[in-house]
Amino acid sequence: MKKLIGEANELVSQMVEGMVHAHPELYGRVEGFNVICRADGAKSGKVGLVSGGGSGHEPAHAGYVGDGMLDAAVCGEVFTSPTPDMVLEGIKAADGGNGVLLVVKNYAGDVMNFELAAELADAEGIKVDHVVVADDVAIANKEDRRGVAGTVFVHKIAGAAAASGKSLPEVKALAEKVAANVRSMGMAVEPCYMPVSGKPGFDLNEEEMEIGIGIHGERGVERKPTTNVDAIVDDLLDHLKKEVSPGEVAVMVNGMGGTPLSELYVTYHFVAKKLEAAGYKLKRKYVGNYMTALEMHGFSITLLPLDEEMTGYLDAPSSALGFKL
């Protein structure tokens, strides 16, 4: 697979350097670490919000650093959880003296590394709590569910709450409310290719697609013959509708990194039509690349039931490049 990269092992470091150089008004880098923080440093008195994970999900997670969203993003190697010492640096960079909330996606590695970092931060006297996002309905057992695109809504809503001056327990409660209600499911027609090995995450022939993929190039839960997007959307919505009742929702059609915007809007067209026919009121709509898996060709659909409080925080200003309002 052809890649537009330098030394594969330097990919993340060079990406971080590029981001900070291109957007000096927004980003700073914790020296010696692949950790992006705010250019103006931690905000005194504000609850800090930190997320991160493996790289390869751009604009996640650094794209959500900015006023109204994250204070620091910890960028692990591609699809590999960052290490505890890195996460600790992110926590320190985000700590404004009023505690830090970690937004963690439900992967064994992420949870372990972020928990270890929280223990280290605790030992240094920083108040840290964390919320685990597990929104992927493709996995039947709720405890094992992965954190995918729904995590972006947690960043946005918790970030706006923190910016409004809420306390750590209040921001955490809100983040948990979003995490408890948001649901996503994804699919791919083409895999992504790991930069170091150059190998695809899975092999698919021309006539096959993967339903229920995660965001790390791993195979889906089901392999099926390809069909048109109309039918694929039906398939994914069937799963989502079982867990999100008709009512006011935010909907996100998220590209996996290698999907043309034209196809994302075609997908959204079917998603909107079908959801409205089923009695859902699409109060807020997001179409674009929010949580990707390198160049994977596919999409995910996320639904978040809305109340007034959450809608208010979704609409609050954000200067983050990946979610500008």
Binding site: T80, P82, T83, A108, N113, A138, G201, F202, G214
Partner: protein, 196 residues
């Protein structure tokens, strides 16, 4: 007897075996995970090589340093798991400068408990625990360590994963050896060789 020099030698041996099996580990992980286990282990043990040049007064110091290095260099799930294993084995080695079979076994049992606790996992879930726990549970000095480890790795092939990323594949995870089990056997073989 495992001496400080022997422990270092074991870690060098583990590094070269991991390097030799890097693609195999990654391919297994591609089949039932996310395809980075070989890359991550290789990065981690390469970092371990550099700390082996330092002098250590006790086996405990060396074990702790190796654990901290793995924790900060491997990433993913394997980093905290292998890192915790060596860090938690350190107090068991304590101030000893050489360890007999019994002490090595006790330290490795601590390591095994640390892996289970950090990963919140039990034997039978198709993870590295399926090598560590059964290998140590009734280990005798006279055992053929390599054969026992090979058998335990092979046994993971027919298991269905219920923990870690492989669990997303459910029944489809059957038929592939667990990559963490294979890397565990490489590390344990290297250590046991220096005890003999």
């Amino acid at each position: 007897m495992l001496t400080i020099e022997g422990f270092k030698q074991a870690l060098r041996q583990a590094q070269s075996e991991i390097e030799a099996n890097k693609d195999t580990l990654t391919d297994l992980d591609r089949a039932i995970g996310d395809g980075d286990h070989g890359i991550n282990m290789s990065r981690g043990f390469e970092a371990v090589l550099t700390v082996l040049d330092d002098d250590y007064v006790t086996l405990g110091d060396l074990s702790k340093k190796v654990g901290m290095t793995l924790m900060s260099k491997v990433g993913g799930a394997a980093g905290p798991l292998y890192g915790s294993a060596f860090v938690k084995a350190a107090p068991k080695f304590g101030d000893a400068t050489e360890a007999d079979f019994t002490l090595v076994k006790e330290a490795l049992l601590e390591a095994s408990s640390a892996i289970k606790a950090r990963g919140k996992s039990e034997a039978g879930q198709k993870t590295m625990v399926d090598v560590w726990e059964p290998f140590l549970s009734d280990l005798n000095e006279s055992d053929d360590f390599d054969t026992k480890l090979d058998q335990l790795v092979s046994a993971t092939e027919d298991m269905v994963a219920t923990k870690g990323r492989a669990s997303y594949f459910g029944e489809n995870s059957r038929g592939t050896v667990d990559p963490g089990a294979l890397s565990s056997s490489i590390v344990l073989k290297a250590i046991m060789k220096e005890v003999e």
